[in-house]
C-alpha cells in the first residue's frame, strides 16, 4: 500500500490513502526525510516477521513449564 503525505498538523502527518480517504499518522512512524508530498510504501517485512517469531518462540519454549 502506498500513502501520500498531504500535510503536517503538529505531531501528525495527514496521509492520503489510495481511495482518497485521509488518516493521521504520528510523525514518529515516518521514514527519515519524509516531507509534504512524499509517497510512503507500507509493506510487510516477512523476513523480519519470521525472525521475530523464531526468537520469541525460543524464549517461550524456555520459559513455559
Amino acid at each position: 500500500m502506498k500513502v501520500v503525505i498531504d500535510r503536517f498538523e503538529g505531531n501528525y502527518a495527514v496521509v492520503e490513502l489510495e481511495d482518497k480517504r485521509v488518516c493521521s499518522m504520528p510523525v514518529e512512524l515516518l521514514p527519515k526525510g519524509a516531507k509534504e508530498g512524499s509517497v510512503i510504501r507500507i509493506e510487510l517485512d516477512t523476513e523480519e516477521t519470521d525472525k521475530r517469531k523464531e526468537r520469541i518462540q525460543k524464549l517461550m519454549d524456555k520459559l513455559w513449564e
Binding site: 501520500v4 498531504d6 500535510r7 498538523e9 492520503e16 482518497k20 480517504r21 485521509v22 509534504e36
Partner: protein, 331 residues
C-alpha cells in the same frame, strides 16, 4: 406632402415609444446603455406613454420601473462559513446575485458542499478559489467543478502529489477550463458592487504548502472580510511588509486557529471585530490553539467557531454585519 411627413413621423415616434417602454418595464433589455436612465426617471416626458401601455390603472408612477433597482439594493452580501469539520469552505453570495466559493471541504464533504450550494439556488459559481492544494481545502473541489457552471478558477501555482489534487486538475481539464494563478495583486471581478483582491501569496516559493495560501480580502461598501486560508506567520509577515491594507471587520482565522498563524502583529493590523474559526470538534491537532484563543480574547473580538455553532452566516448591507449562528440547520 408635408402633411404626409408629419403623419409618418408621428407613426415612427409612436412605434419608437412603445419599443422603449416594453424594453424598460421588462428589465431584460440588453442595450441599457443610456435608454434605462431615461426610462427609470419618473420625470421623463416619455413616461405617459409608458403608463398607457404598461402600467395597470391605479399603480403609482414609480412602481414598475423602480422595482428592479430597489430589489437589487435590498439584497445583502452573504458569507457562509460552512461547517465542514476540520476543513474550510466559504460560500459568498453577492448583492448582484453572483457566487464565489473559497475552498470546498474535504473529500468526504463533497456531497454536503454540493447540496448546500444547490440549496442556495445557485447553478453557476462565478469564481472558485482553491486556497492551496491540501485535502482539507480542495477535497470537494472536483465534485463542485463537475456539479456547477464555473466561471474562473484561482489557485496558487504550487504542485502536490496527492490523488486529491490530481482529481481536481483532471476535473478542470475535463471541463475545458484553465486556472488563473492566485498571487498578490490579482483582483477577482464578479460584481461591481464588491472589491475582491488577493493579498497573498507574495513569493513564488515557500517551504510549507500552507504559505502558498491565497489570502482574499472582500470589501463591500464600508464592510470587509479577510479570508486567510492556512497562511502562516511567514505569509502574514510578508503581507504586513508589503504595506497592504489588512484592516477587516471579519477575519477567517488562518489554519483553523493553529499557533502557526494569527500572530499578534497580524491581528493588530487586521483589527477585526469578529473572527470565524473553521474547525472540527475534538480534533486531534489541538485546533484552535489556546495561545491563539487567548490572543483573540485579548483583542476583544467576538469569536464564531463552526465546531460550536455549525455553519455560520454573516450578512452585510454594506454598513453593518450581522451573524446568524443557526446556519447549521440549512446543512
Amino acid at each position: 406632402m408635408k402633411r404626409l411627413w408629419i403623419v409618418l413621423l408621428t407613426f415612427v415616434l409612436l412605434v419608437g415609444f412603445i419599443g422603449c417602454s416594453s424594453g424598460g418595464t421588462s428589465n431584460i433589455a440588453p442595450d441599457d446603455s443610456d435608454g434605462n436612465v431615461d426610462l427609470s426617471s419618473p420625470m421623463n416626458p416619455t413616461m405617459p406613454e409608458d403608463k398607457s401601455s404598461g402600467i395597470p390603472e391605479g399603480s403609482s408612477d414609480e412602481m414598475p420601473a423602480a422595482m428592479p433597482e430597489n430589489e437589487k439594493n435590498l439584497m445583502p452580501l452573504e458569507v457562509h462559513f460552512l461547517d465542514v469539520e476540520q476543513a474550510d469552505c466559504i460560500l459568498i453570495k453577492t448583492p448582484g446575485q453572483k457566487a464565489v466559493l473559497i475552498d470546498s471541504g474535504k473529500n468526504t464533504h463533497e456531497d454536503t458542499v454540493v447540496s448546500y450550494i444547490k440549496s442556495q439556488g445557485i447553478d453557476t459559481i462565478d469564481a472558485v478559489v482553491g486556497t492551496h492544494p491540501h485535502e482539507d481545502h480542495i477535497g470537494g473541489l472536483d465534485a463542485v467543478i463537475n456539479s456547477f457552471n464555473i466561471g474562473k478558477i484561482y489557485m496558487p501555482k504550487v504542485s502536490h502529489t496527492t490523488k486529491t489534487f490530481e482529481d481536481v486538475l483532471n476535473a478542470i481539464d475535463n471541463k475545458g477550463l484553465k486556472v488563473t494563478t492566485a498571487f498578490a495583486g490579482t483582483n477577482i471581478e464578479v460584481d461591481p458592487d464588491l472589491k475582491i483582491e488577493i493579498l497573498a501569496p507574495n513569493s513564488h516559493t515557500y517551504d510549507e504548502i500552507n504559505n502558498y495560501s491565497a489570502v482574499v480580502k472582500l470589501t463591500y461598501k464600508n464592510t470587509s472580510f479577510l479570508f486567510t486560508g492556512d497562511a502562516e506567520s511567514v505569509s502574514e509577515q510578508e503581507m504586513i511588509s508589503k504595506g497592504y491594507d489588512l484592516k477587516a471587520d471579519v477575519l477567517k482565522v488562518g489554519h483553523h486557529g493553529s499557533a502557526t498563524s494569527t500572530t499578534a502583529q497580524f491581528l493588530k493590523k487586521v483589527s477585526p471585530d469578529y473572527v470565524v474559526i473553521s474547525v472540527g470538534k475534538d480534533n486531534r491537532y489541538g485546533h484552535p490553539d489556546n495561545l491563539v484563543l487567548n490572543r483573540l480574547k485579548t483583542f476583544g473580538v467576538e469569536i464564531f467557531r463552526t465546531d460550536e455553532y455549525g455553519t455560520v452566516i454573516a450578512t452585510s448591507d454594506g454598513e453593518t454585519i450581522k451573524f446568524d449562528k443557526k446556519g447549521d440547520e440549512n446543512i
